[in-house]
Symmetry: C2
Subunit: 227 residues, 2 copies
Amino acid sequence: MGNRLEPVTRHHDEKLQEILKTSAKIFAEKGFHRTSIRDIARAREMSLAGLYYYFRTKEELLYLIQERCFLNLLQKWERAATADMDVRSRIRVFAENHLGFFLHNMYEMKVMAHEDESLTGEFQDKILVLKRRYVKVLMDLITELGNQENGQGVDARVATFSLFGMMNWIYTWYQPKRDLPLPELINQMLRIYFFGILKGGAIQEAWFTSTNSGTGKEAFSLWQNSP
Amino acid sequence: MGNRLEPVTRHHDEKLQEILKTSAKIFAEKGFHRTSIRDIARAREMSLAGLYYYFRTKEELLYLIQERCFLNLLQKWERAATADMDVRSRIRVFAENHLGFFLHNMYEMKVMAHEDESLTGEFQDKILVLKRRYVKVLMDLITELGNQENGQGVDARVATFSLFGMMNWIYTWYQPKRDLPLPELINQMLRIYFFGILKGGAIQEAWFTSTNSGTGKEAFSLWQNSP
């Protein structure tokens, strides 16, 4: 039984991924509230009935997009960060993971930034839990760094959301053809964040060489199984 | 004639400001496309005919909100920056101006972040001109700083939009009751941006004392004439 069901389940999941990818693109371009299920059906060349086999409401689609993003980010982070890294390296890996993921999933990035208030009820609660868990990872790292440095540190919330802000704002300005390629972009942002723009962040280069962990396209696309 | 007209004009402008302020709040909460002119009429306790005396379309409202923001920001910046300041101080003043303005106009901040693609045609073109002019102010300052430092500098676009990102992201997380008051928030963000989070940005404190220029509430509200 299990063997016979498996291909069907995998097919279902791949199909759902394609639908979510298309939906994220349309939500990003038209906005969630202005998008109709009909728009998505048209783009995917599916019937409405065919679409509704994979989800029940438009809101569930938005929920599934956001859930996959957070689960993916958390999973990749847990794989990338190892116990032997010092806290600065772990912050760097977190940022590489976050930026790399979103640069390959820009529509999802925009949807998450713009539609974080479009979910209601249980969907909203569940995403909030994931979001808090994800934010807490970075805030804990920054608090740990602050304790180590033992200086008149920076407020952990300001430091945490400053980094998220730098990174998440990218969807508003980044043009792949005009701007730096991903590894350099990450490197420059982290130099600013760790060392500041004075002297162009050029301090302690030694430990700052990028690990290049997971900056490849394959590793990052949320939708690697899709065409 | 001029004297007799003036009070009428001033009244017209004050009334329009109130309408724009209310519209920004509703656009921020419901989204531009989901807001109807009826929503605004209800909130302002005005008739539809009364409202349409001040503007012609909902899109014009959005345009006027964005135009006022950019003109206000540019005007305040030109007043605040003086020729005798070094480039670092001018960057600090730019950031103080930007953050101070938006912390007192959070609805407008959110509308500008979320609805920058909702304008079309001439409205869109005009706002784009203002936006580019505003972004160019900061980018020129950062380029000047980079030339002075003469190091293997940070990319000007990355540095410029990193600062905008840190600042503009605030509308997603800042809670006045929980977080640092405005002058400290600005100070901390600038310490991160100039010196980095390592050592909590605690370098060269001497020149870094806030100028406190225009961090008062009065100086910053876009709608100072409104109740």
